[in-house]
Symmetry: C2
Subunit: 282 residues, 2 copies
C-alpha cells in the first residue's frame, strides 16, 4: 500500500486542523441572516450581510418569505463565472427596483483584518466579520468581493435596477464585477451543490439554458429563523479578527509540507482562503 | 418583459463573439494528444502537452491505452482545489515511479505570449500553445500553471514518485502547487462535468470519499486517436500567439459594457482568461 492519497496535506486543512482556537473565536450565524436553499443535490446555506447591503438583504429576505424563489430555477449558469437564478425575463410590479449598494463607508461595525497579500483588482483586501472584502483607502469605501460562493443581485442596465434576480459566484472571473453589482452574502455550506448546477453555453444566449427542463430547479428557499428550532441547522463561523484565523491564514500563505519539493511563493489569493465554518450538532 | 438576463454581457463572450479571427488562427488538436474521459455526467476532453512533460504524457497515454483508468474513480475531491482520480492506495509494479517534470527550459517550441497582467505567484505569466504558463526569467524555466482545468500527476513524498494517480484542478487554490507537481494537460471541453464530481470532506481523511459508492466512477478513458475516425470528436484551439487571441484577452482585461456603472481595474487573472476552443462538426 502506497500513500498516493496524501499529496500536500497541509494546503487543505479544514476546521479540524485549526490550531489553538478557543470557543469565543467562533460566532453563531444568526438564523435571521441564514438562508437555506434546497436544490436537488442538497441544501445550500448562505449567510447574508446586512452590514454591507441592508436594502438588498431586506429585499432578499422578503422574497424568500413570500415564496418567490420556490419552484424557480437557475436559468443562466456559466462555468467559472456565475449561476444566476430566480424568475428571469419577467417583471413583478410588487417587487420594484431598489437602490444599488455596491460599496459602503468604513465603520466600526465592520472591523477590517488586512489579508496581507496583494490583489489584482482591489487596492486593499481583507476579511470583515467572515466575508472577503476589498477597500479603497483613498475613497474610504469597502465592498464584499466576488469570490466563489458570494451572493449578489443581478440587475438591468442602470445602477438602481435590481429587483428579484440573484447570482452565486462560481469562479474568480466574477471579480471583474466588483463594485458593479451588490454583493450581500456568502455560501457557508453546500458550495459543492452549487458547482453541480447544470451549465449553459456562454456562446448561446449569454449562458441562458434554453430548455427549461435542463435548468436546475430551486426547490425551496427558507430563512433559518422560519424553520422549527429543532430542525434548524446551526452554523458557526470563525471570527476573522481572531488570532486563530490569522494563524490559519498565515499557514496557508506559506505552506510547509514534506510533500513540497519547491518552496512556493509566500502569497495567497484572498478568494482561496477558506473562512472556517463548523456545523455543531443542534 | 425585462432584460434581467443580460448583465455584463461582454465579460463572457465565447468563441462566437471573437472579432476578426481567421481560419489560420485555429489549430486542430492532435488526436494523439486528446484524451476522452467518460464520467456519468458527460465526456471530459483533455489536451495533453508533451512539450512540457514528455515522460508524464507518455505514461498517461500508456495507462489510458492499457485500460488502467476504466472503472476507476475520483476518490479525493476537494471543492475549490482538486479532483484526484485513479486507483489510489494501491501500488502497481508494472507502473514504476517516473521522474518529475515540474518545469522546463525556455525553447523555440514553446513561444510565450506575455499575459500583460501581474500574477500573485509567478514572476511572469502568459500563454504557450494554448496553455496558461508561468516562467522565471532568472532561472529560464517555465511551467503549466495550476489553473482550473489543469491536469497533473499526483505523487508520494519525493519529487520522482508519480506513477498512476492524477488530478484535475477545480479552483485557484491549487496555484500553490505550481512547480511541485507535474502539470501536463488541460480540460478543453466538459469542465462543467468535472465540477459535478462528488466532493469529499477536507476535514475527514484529507478529502478522500470513504464510501466507494459515493465516488464518481471513471467509466472509460480513451485516446481520441484510438476512436474510429467517424466517431472521433474534433476540436480546434485558438492560437494564443494570434492577434485574435490578443484582442479577446485585452477586451476581457478592460471590460466595456453599458451594464458597468463603475469602471473595473484593467487587470486579468490569467486563470480566468478562457482559451477559446471550438468543436467543428467532424
Amino acid at each position: 500500500m502506497r500513500a498516493f492519497l496524501l499529496f500536500v496535506l497541509t494546503l487543505f486543512m479544514g476546521t479540524s486542523a485549526l490550531a489553538a482556537d478557543r470557543p469565543q473565536d467562533w460566532r453563531d450565524v444568526d438564523p435571521q441572516n441564514l438562508v437555506l436553499m434546497d436544490v436537488r443535490y442538497g441544501t445550500i446555506a448562505i449567510e447574508l450581510s446586512p452590514q454591507f447591503a441592508p436594502l438588498q438583504v431586506a429585499r432578499f429576505k422578503a422574497l424568500v418569505r413570500s415564496g418567490f424563489y420556490d419552484n424557480a430555477n437557475f436559468y443562466r449558469v456559466i462555468e467559472g463565472f456565475v449561476a444566476q437564478g430566480g424568475r428571469g425575463g419577467a417583471s413583478f410590479p410588487q417587487w420594484p427596483v431598489i437602490k444599488g449598494e455596491f460599496d459602503r463607508p468604513y465603520g466600526s461595525d465592520v472591523p477590517f483584518t488586512p489579508h496581507g497579500s496583494p490583489d489584482l483588482y482591489a487596492p486593499e483586501v481583507g476579511e470583515v466579520n467572515g466575508f472577503p472584502v476589498g477597500r479603497s483607502p483613498k475613497e474610504k469605501r469597502m465592498w464584499i468581493l466576488h469570490c466563489p460562493g458570494t451572493l449578489a443581485f443581478a440587475r438591468d442596465k442602470g445602477a438602481d435596477t435590481a429587483a428579484t434576480e440573484f447570482y452565486i459566484v462560481l469562479g474568480e472571473a466574477a471579480r471583474q464585477l466588483d463594485r458593479n453589482y451588490t454583493t450581500f452574502g456568502r455560501v457557508i455550506d453546500g458550495m459543492q451543490y452549487v458547482q453541480k448546477l447544470n451549465r449553459g453555453d456562454p456562446d448561446v444566449q449569454n449562458g441562458v439554458i434554453p430548455l427549461v427542463s435542463r435548468r436546475d430547479p430551486i426547490i425551496r428557499v427558507r430563512m433559518a429563523s422560519d424553520v422549527l428550532a429543532m430542525q434548524r441547522p446551526r452554523y458557526q463561523v470563525l471570527r476573522t479578527e481572531s488570532a486563530a484565523f490569522a494563524a490559519a491564514r498565515d499557514a496557508r500563505r506559506t505552506p510547509d509540507s514534506p510533500y513540497l519539493v519547491h518552496k512556493p511563493v509566500s502569497a495567497l489569493d484572498i478568494c482561496t482562503m477558506p473562512i472556517p465554518v463548523r456545523h455543531p450538532a443542534s
